[in-house]
């Protein structure tokens, strides 16, 4: 814990420092904008709608694949630490685990899950 105290402090100071720079900028040039100055840029025409809409991502199958692989990464860290100690068995075991998951990638690729346009 003690070691991460310094990290936490560094994080907070960095966040505050960036906030201060932004604040200095706002003090030098106060942000009081009229309506036309706030129109979002799309090349010269006012947007008809809010840009926040139900955004259809085409890579949702990739996102689902990621969820499964992210779980796998959790196992990898402790595995790496004991790898040398446990020897061949750890290699084979992880190989089995990964190969099972690779089937998932191959399947997604075959179903054209990485393509969207």
């Amino acid at each position: 814990m003690a070691e991460l105290g310094a990290t936490l402090t560094v994080f907070l100071v960095a966040v505050v420092a960036i906030g201060v720079v932004r604040w200095v900028g706002d003090t030098l040039n106060p942000v009081q904008l009229t309506v036309p100055e706030r129109v979002p840029f799309a090349g010269g025409f006012d947007p008809e709608f809010h840009a926040w809409s139900r955004f259809h991502i085409r890579w949702y199958s990739m996102a689902l694949l990621f969820l499964a692989f992210d779980m796998e990464m959790v196992f990898m860290y402790p595995w790496a630490v004991v790898f040398v100690r446990e020897g061949m068995i750890s290699l084979v075991e992880m190989l089995m685990f990964i190969l099972i998951l690779v089937v998932g990638i191959v399947y997604t690729w075959r179903e054209r899950g990485f393509e969207w346009s």
Partner: protein, 305 residues
């Protein structure tokens, strides 16, 4: 290390190296565009910063103002945190944590959140498109990224970056796992959304997540983004090039040389390699980098035994 020293050290290092990244970017740009005379490059980043500070910050019609303010601060904070996980010389480590590479990985993966918020918050078409690009890009590179970083922990039998460096006494990891460093650098470019993988802030989106940002807000965003690149390069030097290890020169100098060498490669590749299509980037992550990273894990693992 005491928090006060940590803040001073990381602060100075980040400021110096972010400035150098900006200088490098200019020099490589001039070189590739065929102009000689790089003297101007040294003062240019300062002038640019002054110009941005003299401009007013932009606000769109109905943004998520808090998220917009948070995004650059979070991004810069993450760059600083990532740097604390890395020993800068023998024994000079801000956070000597057992799970050092997990700390580094956690900081880097959170970059996705900062960039997504930065684009989403503007409530404008192109920044929003950039936000979703960052999500797709980061999800595609994060698994191979974690895999190659974990592989460096195999010979060290530890997740501590300090021990990973000292395990390279006899042989650097770049030799032990030749696939590791290239995959690390490509995925690192993805996390720092730096050219050629600057898809979220690309020109085809007129600047993407920063298309609606100006003034001091744009300045801090660019600085924060460069700080991530610096952290990536420093970790690359530590995990693959033996960090501060090396003959004759003092350790911190070796670390600096290696870090700036990697930074030069990263910045250089932005001017020399084309930006891939979004779909190509996603496919590259899942069908090329991920299988290669797995090969890397098992081949290097088998060789370590």
């Amino acid at each position: 290390m005491s928090p006060a020293w940590a803040v001073a050290l990381v602060g100075v290092l980040l400021m110096v190296s972010v400035y150098l990244v900006a200088v490098m970017e200019t020099i490589f740009g001039l070189r590739v565009s065929g102009v000689r005379g790089y003297g101007r490059a040294w003062a240019l980043p300062m002038s640019r910063a002054a110009l941005l500070l003299s401009q007013r910050r932009s606000v769109t019609e109905r943004p998520d103002a808090q998220a917009w303010a948070l995004a650059p601060a979070l991004l810069g904070g993450l760059g600083a945190v990532a740097l604390t996980a890395i020993p800068l010389a023998a024994g000079v480590e801000v956070a000597d944590v057992d799970a050092g590479i997990v700390l580094f990985g956690a900081a880097l993966v959170q970059v996705m959140v900062a960039v997504f918020l930065h684009g989403w918050a503007a409530n404008s078409l192109f920044p929003v498109l950039g936000a979703f690009r960052m999500a797709a890009l980061a999800l595609s590179v994060s698994i191979p990224f974690s895999l190659v970083v974990i592989t460096t922990a195999l010979p060290a039998e530890s997740l501590s970056v300090g021990l990973i460096i000292s395990s390279q006494e006899s042989l650097w990891n770049v030799v032990r796992q030749p696939l590791g460093l290239p995959i690390y650098l490509i995925t690192g470019l993805g996390f720092s959304f730096w050219a050629p993988l600057q898809l979220p802030d690309a020109r085809d989106l007129s600047g993407g997540t920063s298309a609606e940002v100006s003034g001091a807000a744009l300045l801090v965003w660019r600085v924060a983004r460069a700080s991530i690149l610096v952290a990536v390069a420093a970790m690359g030097a530590a995990a693959f090039l033996g960090g501060y290890l090396g003959p004759w020169l003092p350790g911190w100098l070796w670390m600096a040389v290696k870090t700036f060498g990697l930074l030069a490669i990263l910045v250089w590749s932005g001017h020399r390699i084309a930006r891939p299509r979004m779909e190509t980037a996603v496919k590259l992550g899942w069908t090329v980098l991920l299988p290669l990273a797995l090969v890397d894990v098992f081949v290097s693992g088998a060789l370590t035994l």
